[in-house]
């Protein structure tokens, strides 16, 4: 029997449920049985409820088994899983699992397929095609391609990437920067982490392309300290890119220079806000800057700077390789391309679902997600992170794109979907939104710094049943003030989860029901 290749992810989520143990046990058992296997630690496919997901390379494709525990290894060998033998944990061909087969993976096309640090595999699977094209193009042609693609910032704000790039490109300056925002602090989101751990080269490739497009020779990746696994993979990936001449003074002999530095955050949610991130990159307190000037004009160290999210930059190689027009043929309206949605919270099949914009929330939660993990009825989902709206189950037919969501007083954010069952207390969730803002506010502007504290106190009174109607009026007033008066999205959007909870679940706010309506 020839050596069989077996994949066990080294993604942090997979490791969190035992992937390292499984990999060790698998090697040991193979050795005990005198079988040679080629064990590859890949990234995650994003079918997180099946982690640790073990895959076996067979002549007809990769076959999946999961979730595998250490104790399952002997029975897997007994069932001859190396020849795709039948086993209770078997799922057939990985690519045919409906969860994966029904996605449109453009940004995540390689994630979880190979060893994330195998540059040869990266190239074999289509990597570097975009970069090589970009190195032959004039800078304007690159920004035009990105503009044509319709790609919008995937960090949350949704600003067209091509326009941002073109603004930086046109600035005349000795030094410009590309800053990648990998400070993925929103609860319910993990796409940046998964991509960095599963296909880091595509992010680096996107950054080099961005540098070429705008005339920047230096890039920073600001990654949060809560992601130690991703930091290690990314650090190794940058070294390999450097060794291969894909970073440095003369990239692939083109004369193009680009360097990438990794900077680790220090546990401040606000540093996901772009101007706060720039302050932090300058070694300062992560306090937001007033705009204007926008970072494209005056960003890092006062120089013209492209600030993009991980997913935005990681999508650029696809756009260059396949053309902006091809990318723009996915999606609807002004929401073009695909969005990596993340299904989280109380959900049976949690994971990463990259879909064309326009899929409904119901399709994501019920179709892909399979309802709750607990088996209780779904009551609500918070979409778009801690600053996003709580959407009631009755409104799950909303289309998941920028415009449809904002038309429903909600937002896409970074594409996180957190499912709650019927045991959730929405007054407590509203209170938490204010509390989180209190903990994480940078303190620069008053509506956010003090409004969040007053909001929490007022919700405490409402929860305790004290002067409920009066306090609801105070809360309402406070929410308007924070929305209109805050310097950035932290204070400006904290009211969104609060007001959506009040609007859709007034019964959770005690006798306040009529006051709300």
């Amino acid at each position: 029997m020839s050596t069989v290749t077996v994949f066990v992810p080294k993604d942090a989520a997979a490791i969190s449920v035992g992937a390292d143990d499984v990999a060790a046990a698998l090697s040991q058992e193979a050795q005990n049985r005198g079988i040679d296997i080629n064990l590859i630690r890949n990234g995650s496919r994003g079918l997180l409820w099946l982690e640790p997901l073990v895959e076996v390379e067979t002549p007809s494709g990769r076959v999946a088994f999961g979730p595998v525990a250490r104790g399952d290894i002997v029975s897997l060998f007994d069932a001859d899983f190396l020849s795709a033998g039948d086993h209770v944990l078997g799922h057939g061909l990985t690519e045919d699992i409906p969860y994966l087969a029904n996605q449109e993976r453009l940004t995540f096309v390689r994630c979880g397929v190979a060893d994330p640090l195998d540059l040869g595999a990266y190239e074999t699977q289509g990597g570097l095609v975009g970069l090589k094209k970009a190195l032959e193009l004039e800078s304007t042609a690159i920004t035009e391609e990105v503009t044509l693609s319709g790609l919008r910032g995937r960090g949350g704000a949704g600003f067209p990437a091509g326009i941002k790039w073109e603004t930086v490109r046109k600035e005349v300056a000795e030094q410009k920067y590309i800053c990648c925002n990998a400070d993925e602090g929103d609860s319910g989101t993990f796409a940046d982490r998964m991509l960095i751990e599963g296909d880091p080269f595509v992010l680096l490739e996107g950054m080099v392309i961005a540098g070429r497009a705008v005339g920047a020779d230096t890039g920073y990746i600001y990654i949060r300290s809560e992601y130690p696994y991703a930091i290690r993979t990314l650090t190794d990936a940058v070294s390999r890119f450097e060794q291969a001449g894909l970073l440095g003074e003369n990239i692939l002999g083109s004369g193009q220079a680009f360097a990438i530095h990794i900077r680790v955050g220090a546990g401040a949610y606000i540093c996901g806000e772009e101007s706060s991130m720039l302050e932090s990159l300058e070694g300062k307190r992560g306090q937001v800057r007033a705009k204007p000037p926008i970072p494209a004009i005056s960003g890092l160290f006062g120089k013209p700077t492209v600030v993009n999210n991980v997913l935005t930059l990681a999508t650029v190689p696809y756009v260059l390789a396949n053309g902006g027009k091809t990318y723009s043929e996915y999606g609807q309206g002004k929401s073009l391309g695909t969005q990596p949605f993340q299904l989280a919270g109380d959900i049976a099949r949690g994971g990463l679902v990259e879909k064309v914009f326009g899929v409904t929330l119901r399709e994501l939660i019920e179709g892909f997600g399979g309802g709750t993990r607990s088996g209780r009825p779904v009551r609500t989902a918070q979409v778009g992170g801690p600053l996003g709206a709580y959407i009631p189950e009755s409104a799950f037919d909303v289309h998941m794109d920028y415009e449809s969501l904002s038309g429903s007083d909600a937002m896409l954010g970074h594409g996180g979907v957190v499912v709650f069952n019927d045991s959730v207390d929405m007054a407590r969730q509203a209170r938490f939104a204010m509390e989180f803002c209190e903990i994480e506010s940078c303190g620069k502007c008053t509506p956010c710094r003090i409004g969040s504290v007053r909001g929490k106190e007022t919700l405490d009174k409402i929860i305790a049943g004290a002067d409920v109607e009066k306090n609801l009026a105070v809360l309402d007033d406070l929410c308007v003030l924070m929305t209109d008066g805050s310097l950035c999205a932290m204070g400006g959007l904290t009211p969104m989860p609060v007001t959506s909870a009040l609007k859709h679940f007034p019964e959770d706010f005690g006798s306040a029901r009529q006051a709300v309506e």
Partner: protein, 155 residues
């Protein structure tokens, strides 16, 4: 760590960064990684190396949740308390942990054994409740599993 050694180590770290003030966050990370926390002496040294006032350095240290001014316990247990983990019962896990260790979140147990810390998202939102123990991530953590993991890390 003995004081002259720490002073030298801090100087070296600052020198590795060419005493650049814009590298302050990096320098603080490195010093904390080495010494376990940021002492008054270390901050004074850093401020003098990179030509900032102690107030400026203090401002940065106090802004970020990661930086500690006192040593942590041998085992640092970070429990995610953000929404995705709330949806699957992190509050009960937190209650269990604080009772079992007889400390509140943000405190260290007697004998400097275990520090309990809140964290707002570990990026393991599909497999919550999520906990990080000494830098290792764990998913679907039940109270029983937490007890086992803590005693394993502590032993």
């Amino acid at each position: 760590m003995q004081e002259p050694d720490e002073k030298k180590a801090v100087l070296n770290i600052c020198q590795d960064h060419d005493n650049r003030p814009e590298d302050l966050v990096e320098i603080l990370h490195s010093v904390q990684d080495l010494a376990g926390f940021l002492s008054d002496e270390a901050l004074r040294e850093i401020a003098s190396c990179i030509n900032l006032t102690r107030a400026e350095v203090h401002g940065v240290v106090s802004f970020y949740h990661d930086f500690r001014r006192a040593p942590s316990g041998k085992t640092v247990v970070k429990i995610c308390l953000a929404e995705a983990c709330q949806a699957v019962g992190c509050d009960a896990l937190k209650e269990h942990a604080t009772q079992a260790l007889s400390i509140d979140m943000g405190q260290t147990s007697s004998g400097d054994e275990v520090s309990l810390e809140p964290v707002y998202c570990l990026g393991n939102c599909a497999l919550g409740p999520a906990v990080m123990i000494n830098g290792n991530l764990h998913g679907r953590v039940t109270p029983e599993k937490l007890d086992a993991l803590v005693s394993e890390a502590d032993s």
